[in-house]
Symmetry: C3
Subunit: 132 residues, 3 copies
């Protein structure tokens, strides 16, 4: 089973919590045990799993990544000027794999699944593949 | 099949080799071919695959990550003060996927599976999901 | 089904596009729906998914990683002197998981699968596991 999640991001650096969208698909398909792969089909947006409680974690997360991978770097050659976004994407990863147990995502208490936009605003697609 | 590995970490930055614990589960379940997902259910501890020979690799690994993501950063807003640990976790990843072949983890000669503690000492849980 | 891709890298920092090699295996095995895990069995070479259009993205990618993880660092202890390569490998990851749909890799328009050599030139092996 493959599902598409359509997203609209609002700015360059943004983390969208898609945990609920993924969980809805498990209920819809009545999945009890298995694996879920959440996959970004973009090269300037990735997927990560991180804290879902204090939104300041996301702020620090995006700001620190921006300091490590600054947007403008004189040595960059890529004509689009978004090399930083490509690096951030490979750092967090194009996908995450989550275990399904007793019909639920086996996430830790503070874990959420985030779509990480590093070059928005854009219309984005995230694929969800469920393996039973 | 899902298994839990209980871990006790002893300090903030520490890499625990859990390869043997994962391999024991394959023997216990008599898995010959498949995939194993090793998953950290924490937002300040991740999983990585890296060298299992010279322990100095782990020292350099943790020290360099600490330089890139310094513990104290004046611009951090997260009240717990452990934003660096959240960034390190997303950099190495919440999970790793390893192939099982002929009843063994298909690791390279120098590869080991590491639970990476970035905010200990703590009691931690690592889930292992086997797919056949 | 497990397949081996043999690679010969030509220098320390190099990204080899292996998308076509992986797609050939899907055709050969007549896989219509499933998952593919592309796995590097090395600790100084990883796998990432990134842009396959402008080769300058790869140049910027490798150069920026080299600035974050400089090859020579006085504080490194590992006798082989390649700690930077170990860090780059864990940053991009030892493996990538890609969805297979209608007999093809479900990659985005600009996505390619790259074997990332961080310590060549060397002879390398990449495993491909297909799950249906």
């Amino acid at each position: 089973m493959i599902h598409k999640i359509h997203l609209k991001t609002r700015k360059r650096d943004e983390m969208l919590d898609i945990t609920y969208e993924v969980e809805k698909l498990l209920v819809q398909e009545n999945v009890q045990e298995g694996l879920v792969v959440i996959y970004s089909s973009h090269t300037t947006a990735g997927i990560t799993i991180n804290e879902n409680a204090d939104p300041d974690v996301q702020k620090d997360f995006l700001q620190r990544l921006d300091e490590i991978y600054p947007w403008n770097l004189a040595s960059d050659r890529h004509f689009e000027g978004n090399s930083a976004a490509h690096l951030k994407t490979s750092t967090v990863g194009a996908s995450q794999t989550v275990i399904v147990h007793h019909g639920k995502l086996l996430l830790g208490r503070w874990q959420g699944i985030y779509f990480c936009e590093f070059d928005g605003p854009r219309e984005r697609i995230c694929y969800v593949k469920i393996l039973m």
